[in-house]
Symmetry: C2
Subunit: 154 residues, 2 copies
DNA sequence: TAGTTCGTTCAATCGCAACTGAACGATCTG
DNA sequence: CAGATCGTTCAGTTGCGATTGAACGAACTA
């Protein structure tokens, strides 16, 4: 139960549905795969929530569907490799946002240059914005360098 | 306006109020400090929101209060050093959660040992849980090693 | 075929954080 | 002192994502 609470809070902190985290926490320490009904029962949530939660986790490759011969129910078990999980989460979630931010940043820089040429900003304003945008770009470049290393290390 | 949208979304992504991010984005590119009314006016939010937002940002050291001689209003400007900002955010926000998780983890491990001694879990179950908890501990230790490095690099 | 037992979908509800308008206290001005 | 101009606080509202019950379709069973 402590595990369930922790993973639930963690997911909530990362902007994911709390129930998904709870499901993962439950399965992470469960010695055998569990069915939808068992999950819903144990966590005291509706089967609908359990269904949507497991499907989300499966799509994130955090859960694996397990078919037990002679059983009609679907069973689920947690993917134990958290490092791989973190990597794929990074790739499919943070990486895109990050690339997007790069595009936005360079677009801002272009726009600033245009405004300067058009005389829409005076010299002091231009210098200030330029400095701030450059600092942003520098930080972005640092992140771009270190993230792959971090990815390997985990 | 693009900047405002970006920082707003970023804050929302990190679980902070969107309006706070918008305020920071506005001030980050503003060549001069702005007053509460100017902020509320520009962002089309109520002065109440602007007030709470700025106070939050000030408490996070993301904004600086600027007193302009002969002016009764408070003026605010963005703290430009994003690296320092990230560091202090890490220290006051993530660091505590992280330490907390360490305590929980070791507590879980202790409890597992107790259960084993009490014969509450069979050998197979114990081995499974033990392995999973050990993996968690290993990941936690890696994070503990790399985070300080990352903090220095930024 | 009729009746179970599954998982999924969807409209309705709920909870919670963010936002707002209005009231307030503090500080200045004439 | 009265009046104006600030920032802050707070009860009430809003908006949005998570959750639910009920309905549904598919796959099995007798």
């Amino acid at each position: 139960m402590e595990m369930i609470e922790s993973t639930g809070r963690l997911c909530q902190l990362l902007g994911m549905p709390r129930s998904a985290g709870q499901i993962y926490g439950l399965l992470y320490l469960s010695p055998r795969p569990l069915s939808l009904d068992e999950i819903a029962d144990y966590l005291a949530i509706s089967k609908a929530s359990a269904s949507t939660g497991t499907r989300q986790l499966v799509s994130w490759h955090a859960l694996r569907e397990v078919w037990i011969p002679g059983e009609r129910r679907d069973y689920y078990e947690a993917v134990g490799d958290l490092s791989e999980l973190a990597r794929s989460a990074y790739r499919s979630f943070f990486q895109p946002k990050f690339n997007n931010s790069k595009g936005r940043l360079s677009h801002l820089q272009e726009q600033l240059e245009e405004d300067r040429k058009a005389g829409a900003v005076d010299k002091q304003e231009y210098a200030f914005c330029r400095e701030r945008l450059d600092q942003l770009a520098s930080l972005e470049s640092k992140m771009r360098k270190i993230l792959p290393l971090l990815e390997k290390f985990l």
